[in-house]
Symmetry: C2
């Protein structure tokens, strides 16, 4: 077996930052380019001799490259323990697992908080607007550098699922299988509206300073916290909130004021406050914008099926959750319909749960079993279990 580290020149171990210079610029959908691109990434497990066991995981909006233990120094925790780890469907004992922070992110990859080499100052709003396509092209650079021609699987949920679909549209020949969870092939009007509220909350904060807060040594913490609170509600379902909190009070009796009387208020405030410690406000603007711009079928004469027509050899697993009102099952069904039209072998699963959109991040036994079965089956065809 060749460990990935053996073939890397810029990163010494299982984690690192890959730098792409002007020799491999990232060409952007918006027309510009990034000539000095850093991609922070982690790998888990070892690449086999045939280089056929690599799984790329695409992270959702506010997460990062720390998909499994051990996480990078200073990172919070591994965010997908239910699906990624020893004995899990995506297993470092069998798979070579790659996860990189997206371009535009704030966990080590180039984003609006990075120093613009042209000015020597943080980009702020001079950072180019990026797309899901740009994120995926950056990942393709990383996969190239890791010496991998074809990925055994590309896997993601929510915004990660959008990247999976974009991989299938842009680089179908480099995929053997693909897993798209709780996602959509385009952002709906309601999705855009919800994101716009978050952006307006950030930009309304005077500490945002037109995006140049880093130059002033401040951060739009209140605005970002409000954005997170609004978004967090959309990640849960009404019944999950009722089950977890109902109308339970923080203390005996009401405050008859504007303190957090109800436990759900306190929980939400905590979600907002802890988010600002780990996330950059401008990255939030750019990444939500990329999601809003996402519409895989746009410009394709054959619509979504046309966009995915090159992926008819790719084995797909698509899953949705009954209580997910952010990316409801109808969105997954549209993806499945297009894959069927394109002729791609597709498994589709609607999982009954009251946990809402975030169910894809949680321990959902039906999802775990389905993904294990799907990847085992694909692995046998791929010859991984030989």
């Amino acid at each position: 077996m060749t460990r990935a580290a053996d073939i890397l020149t810029t990163a010494p171990g299982d984690e690192g930052v890959m730098i792409f210079g002007p020799e491999a610029p990232l060409l952007l959908d918006g027309g510009g380019r990034i000539e000095s691109l850093a991609l922070a990434y982690r790998t888990y497990g070892a690449l086999n001799a045939a280089r056929s066991n690599a799984i790329l995981i695409c992270h959702p909006l506010t997460l990062d490259q720390n998909v499994a233990e051990p996480v990078a120094a200073g990172a919070r925790r591994a965010w997908w323990p239910s699906l990624v780890g020893p004995g899990r469907p995506i297993d470092p004992e069998r798979h070579f697992i790659i996860c990189s922070n997206i371009v535009g992110g704030c966990m080590g990859s180039t984003g609006p908080g990075s120093i613009d080499p042209a000015s020597g100052r943080p980009y702020g709003l001079s950072f180019p607007v990026i797309t899901i396509g740009d994120m995926v092209r950056a990942q393709a650079l990383l996969v190239d550098r890791l010496g991998i021609e074809t990925l055994f699987a590309v896997v993601g949920g929510s915004m990660g699922g959008m990247q999976v679909l974009e991989w299938a549209a842009s680089f179908p020949a480099r995929l053997f299988s693909a897993v798209c969870l709780a996602s959509a092939a385009r952002h709906s009007a309601q999705n855009i509206a919800l994101h716009e509220v978050g952006r307006q909350a950030i930009m309304a904060d005077p500490d945002w300073r037109g995006g140049d807060y880093a130059l002033h040594g401040v951060r739009p913490e209140k605005g970002l916290a409000v954005a997170r609170m609004a978004a967090h509600i959309t990640y849960l379902s009404e019944s999950a909130l009722t089950r977890k909190f109902g109308r339970e009070l923080q203390r005996d009796g009401l405050s008859w004021g504007f303190d957090a009387d109800f436990q759900v208020e306190s929980y939400l405030r905590h979600q907002g406050a802890s988010f600002v410690d780990r996330f950059d406000a401008n990255s939030y603007l750019y990444i939500t914008r990329a999601m809003d711009y996402f519409d895989l079928a746009a410009g394709h004469p054959g619509g979504l099926a046309g966009a995915l027509s090159g992926a008819r050899h790719v084995r797909f697993c698509v899953a949705s959750f009954t209580s997910d009102w952010l990316y409801p099952t109808s969105e997954s069904r549209e993806i499945v319909r297009a894959l069927n039209l394109a002729g791609a072998p597709t498994s589709f699963l609607e999982i009954d749960t009251d946990r809402g959109h975030d169910a894809f991040l949680l321990d959902e036994p039906v999802l775990t079993a389905a993904l294990a079965g799907f990847l085992d089956s694909a692995g046998r065809v791929r010859g991984l279990q030989a």
Copy 2:
């Protein structure tokens, strides 16, 4: 016929502000009292000689006493033209229609923006936290002053429906019938969470100044606009947003920036900006708090049915809308179940529409027909059509 104006001493016509002094203080659920209470109200039509044709309309969160034309000078427009007006189910030709701005509001009734007689300055956060029960007791003072013993009907949607339920619990003997639309007998965890986001957005705005913005000649416009944008999304359904806006752009092509690219963004920004011109931020805090505190069954040994047990003689009409995810049909069903247990004659209607919560304010022919039939039938029993 006796026109209401004939029996008023403090208001000369069909509109006015009723003042209640220390002789009739408003005792508050929170323990305090308001000794100088102003209630801005409008009436339409004439009270009949038997004083048996009065309908009280309870307004929702951000609306006011201008339920029908003609509206007060400076008011925006009549907000319930589909249900209230000549030839409509609630008809000034047949009914004496009363609508008052709630206590805590900002359209002429006493609220946090009013001058505190004790200090001579605007109350701000020294205004007492009020409840749906307080709103209803204030309305009862007004109904007393208008010389009306029993209301032919009390009618409201959303927060107005909460007031209707509170009337049925607190003053059942004063009701002949009651209409509760798109509402709930208590605020759910999700409802509370959504309101908390709006409050945090307002309080995060430095121009809020701890609630004392009026003293500083500023207003927390950005925070209030964000609160309104977040709330407005909850008043619509995903399919209504898709039907109205989809992913339609404002201009040809994307801006590749943070302008309003999509029509839904522009619409939402407009909703936020126009709201701050007509609503007071502190009133928004107080009214949302009152809704969050609402839980009609709390403290009643018999639960919701126990709270409504005095209203078994009241004829109820309850309606919900299939696409209303803010106060879904399940909430109305709980009300109906309790009314059935209490023994009150109850009509229940779930109306199939994709227009979301706001459907109760829009021209929904099924609702209009149902309400007309319900009130006609009740009116015959009441002897109004004699």
